[in-house]
Amino acid sequence: MMNKRIIFTILFAILLSGVGGYFLYGKAKLDQDVRINAEYRKLYSAIEVFQKIWTEGELSGLESHLKDCPSSLKLSREKKKCSREILHCLSKNQEFKRKYINLEIKRPLVSKANSQSPINFSSALELELSYGGTSLVLHLEYGCHKAFLPHRIYTLEDSNSRKYSWWDNIGRNLFIDKTLVKNGDILDWLKADSDLKGGDEIFKLIVNSDESLPAVGLSQKEMVRYCAFRGEQLMDTVLFDAASMHPGDLNSNQMRFPLRSMWPWDYKKKIGTIYNYRNKKIKEVTLKECNQVFSRECLEIEKAKDREGTHTWTGIRSVLGGSLEYFRNPVYPKKNLKASSHLYNLDSPWHELGKRAWWDGTGFHIQNFNFRFADPPESVKKFDVAFRCYKEERS
């Protein structure tokens, strides 16, 4: 009886220690699993914060973390969206990283042209988030500043059939840059496009320029390459006219008669800032007029900083005034330059939609241009030509 008791006790003790040992080992592993789960959950909840910062420009509660970049806080809500500058600023702020999550910008521009793995987006900023021993990569798409071209019929300047004909994008999804390509965008591209020849010259041209200003000084080929690197196309006149000329009835996708409006604000001719100025209903160019069309007079108005002018019916800007802009014109290749710019006074005939000059695409002196019926002032020796891109998406 005593022996049986001893044997039972020994067996029970062995069993207990076996179970205990298993538990201790298992507990350590379990603790690690619990920790990893918690780290993932923390990272996942941080993603929502970054998404709001990136796509909505939502910075409330983050102002103190941006004190080293005060210019970021002064930006309009629209310009805070898809802002590399803001993320760069947050990634340098230790307080933000302590409070939220550790982050590092890995690459300011990733596209299919430089990605080492298959990606489902066209172009994005690459960010690494880490918490504890766990890290994730976020790709934040550069898509905030694109405007959808509504599915409808548009008028085409096409004298092959009649003076005007039609085209439509029904069944195709086209997105147009709302504003011009900026110097900051070009700098990101130069770092990312390792196969580019002549990148050093472009870099020297813009490295000391304000990153928020339109990029100028690129040749046509370089403009095409920049857009292509991002999976996009250089803007063409057909799309630009469609997105900037008022189509008349916004509630219909049809057009009863060919309409190529002179102004972005209305399809009627005798209306708006330029018509009123030409007809002496406006006597003087002030900040109000400059906010619609940044003409030559605006260079003298101190408060007129924003050169992008009015929004069109699709939401794009810089359609009149501001910078010279190059497009591809598939129908009339010699009409490839928006001449309406700060080179001309507000009463210049250039300040109308659809009126275009020509640029040979290589140089930036007067001999590289043909301004047809209205030359720029003789004092201007060198011309800055900007550009933008567009993209087609699948449904």
Binding site: V19, L30, D33, V34, N37, Y40, Y44, I47, E48, W54, T55, K112, A113, Q116, S117, P118, I119, N120, F121, S122, A124, E128, L136, V137, H139, L140, E141, C144, A147, F148, P150, I153, L156, N160, S161, S165, W166, W167, D168, I170, G171, R172, N173, F175, R225, C227, A228, G231, E232, Q233, L234, V238, G315, P330, V331, P333, K391, E392, E393, R394
Partner: protein, 307 residues
């Protein structure tokens, strides 16, 4: 007394093991399923208000997705459910280097056992159900174990929903977090062969072009859409299909309208407005494309081009 103590220890051990099983299951799932880039297959039993009861004692496939691991290799993810029957149900999570939708036994398996009242959801919009808010784009495994309710919420970060673009829309992908893609950090050593299509100088006239989407005359798809693999973007042109909206698509820089290049698409609605018969889209002089002034549209048997 001793027996009571032993029984108590065994019950405590059992519940600890159950909890451990759930933690391990969650860890396995959270570690990889959220990084899926594509939803390959989805069971029709998704998003039902009632529990999955049939067929009992049978493994049913719920979902299959694909992602990349840290080495840049494809990983397939599958979720299965063995429906409650003689025994309680089991949720199985599988990762494999090949498709797992038809095979619940191969690959790396992690089970969550003793599951009852199981429901499987991937809501397309936020929904209040089962006493909780189910968020759009998340995958939910909901049920009971030993009488206690559980709900495992898994974000599917990179699986976008169908976009409904209109005026003022931007083109951020409609993922759970719009415009955001989430992946694992790739190991620096992992290199993949460049799987993108096309070169910057490619163009139709020089017969150096990658087609990325194509239809035959009878409207059958002869090449499925692969333009998302184009290295330098893509564009649409008029092919030989007689069905509206079926464009031929090429990788690379759009030079439409130039001599020898595809004509720029005019659009079927515009062609109708011009009272042109659209029965045959690709023919010489077709108005379905437009060209540079002085050039005409010509059908070369594959594409409407400008000459």
């Amino acid at each position: 007394m001793k027996m009571t103590l032993i029984l108590f220890c065994l019950m405590f051990l059992s519940s600890c093991l159950q909890e451990k099983e759930k933690i391990i299951f969650e860890r396995e799932v959270l570690n990889s399923l959220p990084f899926s880039s594509q939803l390959l297959k989805l069971s029709p039993k998704v998003n039902r208000d009632s529990e999955i009861l049939r067929p009992p004692n049978t493994w049913i496939n719920l979902v299959e997705t694909i992602s990349l691991n840290e080495n840049g290799e494809n990983v397939f993810h599958c979720l299965f459910y063995k429906v409650t029957g003689k025994e309680e149900g089991v949720i199985r999570y599988i990762t494999h280097n090949q498709s797992c939708f038809e095979n619940y036994q191969d690959g790396s398996l992690t089970d969550l056992k003793k599951v009852t009242e199981f429901k499987f959801w991937i809501p397309v919009f936020d929904k209040k159900i089962f006493g909780k808010l189910l968020k759009r784009g998340y995958l939910y495994l909901i049920g009971k174990r030993d009488g206690t309710s559980f709900s495992i919420e898994i974000p599917l970060f990179n699986i976008g929903l169908k976009s409904n673009w209109k005026r003022f829309s931007n083109n951020l992908s409609d993922n759970i977090f719009k415009g955001v893609f989430v992946s694992k950090s790739l190991k620096p050593s992992s290199r993949r062969a460049n799987q993108t299509l096309g070169k910057i100088a490619d163009n139709y006239r020089d017969k150096k072009i990658e087609v990325c989407h194509e239809f035959a005359r009878d409207c059958t798809e002869t090449m499925s859409f692969r333009c998302d693999k184009c290295r330098y973007g893509w564009y649409s042109a008029i092919g030989v299909s007689t069905c509206p909206g079926q464009y031929i698509r090429f990788c690379g820089v759009n030079r439409c309208g130039e001599r020898g290049q595809p004509a720029c698409p005019r659009g079927i609605e515009s062609a109708r407005k011009m009272e042109i018969d659209n029965a045959m889209l690709c023919y010489d002089g077709s108005p379905l494309g437009f060209c540079r002034r002085g050039l005409k549209t010509v059908c070369d048997g594959r594409t409407l081009i400008c000459l």
